[in-house]
Structures are given as structure tokens and as C-alpha cells.
């Protein structure tokens, strides 16, 4: 297992380098220009100077190598410095966003809390709801509860967030005034009142996201439980005189969770990636919003870095999912 993990990790390095190169070339090739948001009143010569100041004058391979050095060598040093108070990275040029002229990683660190609060909570909530729903739907297959659950989850699949999002805002924020329509990222949670505020402002985006995610996970859970209910060991457990609770919640559940857990692990990168549309609708300025605004502003270092971090997460969580599978299922042995 350990060699498997290390092997995959080592193999991941060239993969990731390649991915970063592909993303870089893709972004280079993409039409669009960092000057797009500069008003038309700024004359073209000035814009050209600004481009050069951004480093766009240099040839493409040099820019890529620079980025690689900055991302893989200097940024880790910064992190190290930050933790241990050393000064390795002093004076070295970090990955700088074109929009804000500030280090991209600082922005990421700044954005992460919101994203984690909203998308993360939605994910956790969805898991908490989806698993019992999946279990019960499978246990009482074709019951009213199951049919209803299927219907609701299908709805969750079918209704796009750019439809539900504004609908929620109009109903709950505008007409009922129950929740704020704009997310306040400056809110500091330090007492019950501010916690209440935080919950209120998270409520709508979390609800929209939860519906979607719950739908997916509970379908998986149900299918997995159904598979396992037909297994022989279930009969063995019953023959031992185990209560239904033990049979379902211990024997079947443990087995059914194995594939579901890996599905959940594979979904985690998307938490960090943020939910672009939901963040936009509720003005939760998280990572997703940062990415979309960077794309709109053609802020290549930012887009490149964010997408690459996302790629790293995908590769890593793919690996984690595989390893988890091995850990949870004693039959699976990687070598």
C-alpha cells in the first residue's frame, strides 16, 4: 500500500507538470487580453506598455519556466517562511496576479474560508442527509418513501442552480426578508449573534448546493445498499440472530459505504473549486468567483494557478480515493 501510494505520488509529478503545460498553452492560445477591462479611453500605446510591464513581452517558454519556478520553488519557500519565520523567499518574485498585482496564493488563502464555509458545509450537510436517505430508500425499496426520495433526487439532478438560485433570492431574500441576498465576507464569527448571522447568510447558497449534492450521493448510496442486500453474508448475519438494526447498520452499511466513500472523496476537489454559479448568484466571493473574474479579466497567472491547484487536488483525491478503497476494503491490496 505504501509503495503503491509513493509510486502514484511520484508518477503524479510528471503528470501534473504536463497538465500545467497544457493549461498554460491553452490559456495562451485563448483569445482575450488582460487589457480588456481597461476603458477604451486609454490609448493603445499605453496599453501596449502595460502589457509589457506585465511580462507579456517575453517569449512563451520563458514565461512558462518562470511560472514553474515561482510555483514549485518560491511559493513553497514562502509557506515555509510563513510557518517558521525564516526568510528564504525574501525578495524573490512570486506568482503575481495581473489584476491585483498581488501574489496569487495570498488571494487563494483569502478566498478559501468563504468557499469552505459555503460549499464545504453544503457538502457535509448533503452527506449527512444523503446517507440515511439512501439507506432507508434501499431498505424499503419501492416504498412511498423510496419513490418520493427518487423523485426529489431526480429534481435535484434536473433543476439547474441558475434557476433555483435567483428563485430563492426572490422568494426568501426579497419578498420574505428572511435571509440577506448578499454574502458578507467580513463577518467575524465570535459570538452567538454573529454565528446566527453567518448561518443566515449561508442558508440560501448552502440550500441550493445541498439539494444538488444530496441528489447524487443518495442515489449512489441507495444503489450500493441494494447491491449488498442481496449478498449471502446478510443472510448469514440474520441466521446468527442479529437484529435488523445490526444487519443493516453494521453489516450492510459498512460494505455499502466503501464505494460511496470513494465517490465522496472524488467530489472533494470540487469543494475547493467552489461552485461558480452559486457563488455568483449569492455574491459569495469564493474561489469559484475568483476564477471566473480572473477569466473575464484574462488574468492568466491567476487562472493558471487556480486551475492548476484544482488539477493537483483532482489528482491527489483520485489517489486518496484509491487508497481509501484499499483501506476500507480489506480485500483490495495495492502493491
Amino acid at each position: 500500500m505504501l509503495t503503491f501510494t509513493i509510486r502514484r505520488l511520484v508518477l503524479a509529478v510528471p503528470t501534473l507538470l504536463f497538465i500545467s503545460l497544457v493549461i498554460f498553452l491553452l490559456l495562451e492560445l485563448a483569445p482575450g487580453d488582460p487589457m480588456a477591462q481597461v476603458p477604451l479611453t486609454v490609448p493603445p500605446e499605453v496599453k501596449e506598455k502595460m502589457r509589457i510591464a506585465l511580462g507579456l513581452g517575453e517569449p512563451i517558454h520563458i514565461r512558462y519556466v518562470k511560472w514553474v519556478v515561482q510555483f514549485f520553488w518560491i511559493e513553497p519557500q514562502v509557506l515555509f517562511d510563513h510557518i517558521f519565520g525564516t526568510g528564504f523567499a525574501d525578495g524573490k518574485l512570486r506568482v503575481i496576479s495581473w489584476q491585483t498585482r498581488s501574489p496569487v496564493m495570498d488571494l487563494v488563502v483569502q478566498r478559501l474560508p468563504q468557499t469552505l464555509w459555503v460549499v464545504g458545509v453544503a457538502y457535509v450537510l448533503a452527506i449527512i442527509i444523503a446517507i440515511p436517505v439512501g439507506i432507508y430508500s434501499a431498505y424499503r425499496q419501492y416504498s412511498i418513501f423510496d419513490q418520493f426520495g427518487t423523485f426529489v433526487t431526480m429534481i435535484g439532478f434536473s433543476v439547474p442552480p441558475f434557476f433555483t438560485g435567483p428563485l430563492m433570492v426572490v422568494i426568501f431574500a426579497v419578498n420574505l426578508h428572511w435571509f440577506p441576498s448578499i454574502y458578507d465576507t467580513t463577518l467575524v464569527v465570535d459570538d452567538f449573534e454573529s454565528l446566527g448571522m453567518q448561518i443566515r447568510q449561508m442558508f440560501l447558497p448552502v440550500m441550493v448546493l445541498t439539494l444538488q449534492i444530496t441528489a447524487q450521493i443518495s442515489r449512489f448510496m441507495r444503489a450500493s445498499m441494494l447491491d449488498n442486500f442481496n449478498q449471502d453474508y446478510v443472510r448469514t448475519a440474520r441466521a446468527k440472530g442479529m437484529s435488523e438494526y445490526t444487519v443493516v447498520m453494521v453489516h450492510v452499511l459498512r460494505n455499502s459505504l466503501i464505494p460511496v466513500v470513494t465517490v465522496i472523496a472524488l467530489g472533494i476537489p470540487s469543494i475547493f473549486g467552489g461552485a461558480i454559479i452559486t457563488e455568483q448568484v449569492f455574491a459569495v466571493n469564493g474561489i469559484g468567483q475568483a476564477l471566473i473574474s480572473a477569466i473575464q479579466a484574462n488574468d492568466l497567472p491567476m487562472v493558471h494557478t487556480l486551475t492548476f491547484i484544482f488539477a493537483v487536488l483532482i489528482v491527489v483525491f483520485n489517489l486518496i480515493a484509491d487508497v481509501l478503497y484499499g483501506v476500507l476494503d480489506p480485500r483490495v491490496r495495492y502493491d
Binding site: I23, Q147, F157, S158, F163, T307, I314
Partner: protein, 333 residues
């Protein structure tokens, strides 16, 4: 006691090989599929709804009296724009309604019903074809990765790559590279159609590929694959005859989800200006255009929203039923 049992058979060949199940007359496979399909109420209803929608968008624009692109002229424009749907008259008698425009008109006086039908054509066509493409790619890559061990690592890393690629820049690049060439070959709208379908397909095959690969890996260990090899089945035939039918059900699931994703992605593309020409309605565009006026004219959001959701919903149920019906093991039950 046992000897006296009434059903004591005379000495006979042990009839293990005779047909124990009352032998039904042989019948076509598709009849069986249909029979099984009918059992699934949700799927049946879903299928009917989906067919109705398809029929409506196919035939609708041809028979409906007003063209989706038609703009009223002059004074008429002011009179006709922002007509409410006819049902609004039920609770609001001051509302501007007209029987000629049962779903009302938009802010330029175009008939919402006509646009809904016209838009549905595109949305459904895009949804179906993009799904087919994505399923094709996903299955191809999944099967190849699962079947040829050598390519497995490479293809799975490719999958990671595609998962990580940001959609928007991809779209920009693709339209930069291919739009002109495509619109030369297929015409403006055709070119965009091919582009949109291609993009959605190319960016959404990864989950299918993963699932198919997993299943193929497991199937490869099954004895009937070995048996097929021993009777001289060539690898290509092996994949088509033996592997593919056995991964059909996860593919069906991916396919139904795929239509949903494709319809929704198309809307997002229209919204960002990468899709069809702006005067070309699609459900996604109709929805996006009217979100701003949601509290003023809820119907303009509601109808396209419902149309998208209903299509996706019915397709999901349809897929559920089809999956059951296509699996002979379930069908037999």
C-alpha cells in the same frame, strides 16, 4: 406414505433437462424489452412526457401561427411587448393579455410560446447529440483503458487532465480555432451547433470513462471473456459483443445524466455569449435573459426553467426504466 403420493412419477428419465418453466412462444427481444419497460411506471410517464416535448418542439414551430423571430412593427411593438400569459387574467384583470399569445411576449414583443418551441429544438438537439458524443468518447476511452492494460495509465491521466481543464478558456480556444472553418462547412448556425456539441461532448466524457473502465476491468476477469477468446473471437468483436452489452447499464445512467448536463451547459454557454447567435432562442438563453425580470414576469423564467427541468426529469426516469428493460436478468424477473 410416500409411495402413495398422488404425484408419484413412473420410472422415467430424470427430467432435469426438460423445460420446467411454461414455455412461452419465442418472441422478439424488443417485445420483451417493451414489456419490461411498461412495468416501470415512472419510465413510462417519463417517456410519454419526453416524447410529447420532442413532438411539440418538432412540429410546434411549423404549425404555430407566429414565427419565433417575428418582431412586431411600429406601434404594434409597444402594444404587444411584455404581454402577460393568458392565465394571469385569472387573478389580475388589469394585466395585458392576449389569446393570440397564450404564454405572453417578451420585451421585444416576440411570442414566448413560439420561442419556447424553437428554443426547445435546439436545446434538445444539443442535449441529445452532445450526450451521444460524450458517451461515445467516454465508452471508447473507458473500454480501451480497461481492456488494454498498457494504455490504462496514460488514458486515466488524460482523464485527470480533462477533469482539470477549465471549460471557459477551452471554449474560447475552440471557437477561435474552429468557428470559421465550421461555419463555412455547416453554415452559421450549423457551425455553432457542431462547435457547441463538440465542446460539451469533449468536456463531459470523463465520468463515463471512469465508470466504464472500472466495469471493464472487472468483466475482463470473467470467464466468458476467456471463453470468447477460446472460440476465436477477435478483440474488436470481443469488445462489441461481450464487453459493451455488459457495461450498458452504467452507460445508460451516464447517458441520461449526460443529456441533463448538456442542456444545462448549453444554456451557460449561450449566457456567456459563446453559443448560438443572439437572436437564436434556446431554453437556456430564454431563462438567462429573463432572470433579471423574475419578479416582474415570473412566467419567462418559469416556462423555460420548467421545460429544462421537465425534459431532464423525464429523461432521467426514462433512463431508469430503459436500464432495467435492457438487462435480460432483470427482465426475466
Amino acid at each position: 406414505m410416500t409411495d402413495a403420493a398422488p404425484n408419484d412419477p413412473p420410472p422415467q428419465r430424470i427430467a432435469a433437462l426438460s423445460d420446467t418453466v411454461p414455455s412461452a412462444p419465442p418472441r422478439s427481444q424488443w417485445l420483451d424489452v417493451w414489456d419490461q419497460f411498461k412495468q416501470h411506471k415512472g419510465a413510462l410517464v417519463g417517456g410519454i412526457i419526453f416524447l410529447t416535448i420532442v413532438l411539440a418542439v418538432l412540429v410546434g414551430p411549423a404549425v404555430w401561427w407566429v414565427d419565433a423571430q417575428y418582431l412586431p412593427k411600429g406601434r404594434e411593438f409597444i402594444n404587444l411587448r411584455d404581454t402577460r400569459p393568458i392565465y394571469v387574467a385569472l387573478w389580475d384583470d388589469t394585466a395585458k393579455v392576449s389569446w393570440l399569445y397564450p404564454l405572453g411576449t417578451d420585451n421585444l414583443g416576440r411570442d414566448t410560446l413560439a420561442r419556447m418551441m424553437q428554443g426547445g429544438r435546439v436545446s434538445i438537439a444539443v442535449g441529445l447529440t452532445a450526450m451521444l458524443l460524450s458517451i461515445f468518447l467516454g465508452t471508447l476511452i473507458g473500454v480501451v483503458a480497461g481492456y488494454f492494460r498498457r494504455l490504462d495509465g496514460l488514458l486515466m491521466r488524460l482523464t485527470d487532465l480533462f477533469l482539470a481543464l477549465p471549460l471557459l478558456p477551452m471554449i474560447l480556444v475552440a471557437s477561435l480555432l474552429f468557428r470559421e472553418a465550421l461555419s463555412k462547412t455547416f453554415g452559421v448556425e450549423g457551425g455553432v451547433f457542431v462547435l457547441v456539441v463538440g465542446l460539451i461532448g469533449v468536456t463531459s466524457w470523463m465520468h463515463t470513462a471512469r465508470i466504464v473502465r472500472g466495469d471493464v476491468l472487472a468483466l475482463k476477469e470473467r470467464e466468458f471473456i476467456l471463453a470468447a477468446q477460446s472460440i476465436g473471437t477477435k478483440p474488436s468483436k470481443l469488445v462489441i459483443r461481450h464487453l459493451l452489452p455488459n457495461v450498458m447499464s452504467p452507460i445508460m445512467v451516464s447517458a441520461t445524466l449526460g443529456i441533463a448536463v448538456a442542456i444545462i451547459t448549453e444554456s451557460a454557454l449561450s449566457f456567456l455569449g459563446f453559443g448560438f447567435p443572439p437572436d437564436f432562442p434556446t431554453w437556456g438563453r430564454l431563462l438567462n435573459d429573463s432572470v433579471d425580470r423574475m419578479d416582474l414576469y415570473p412566467e419567462r423564467v418559469l416556462w423555460p426553467g420548467l421545460a429544462i427541468s421537465l425534459t431532464v426529469l423525464s429523461v432521467n426516469y426514462l433512463g431508469d426504466g430503459l436500464r432495467d428493460a435492457l438487462d435480460p436478468r432483470i427482465r426475466g424477473r
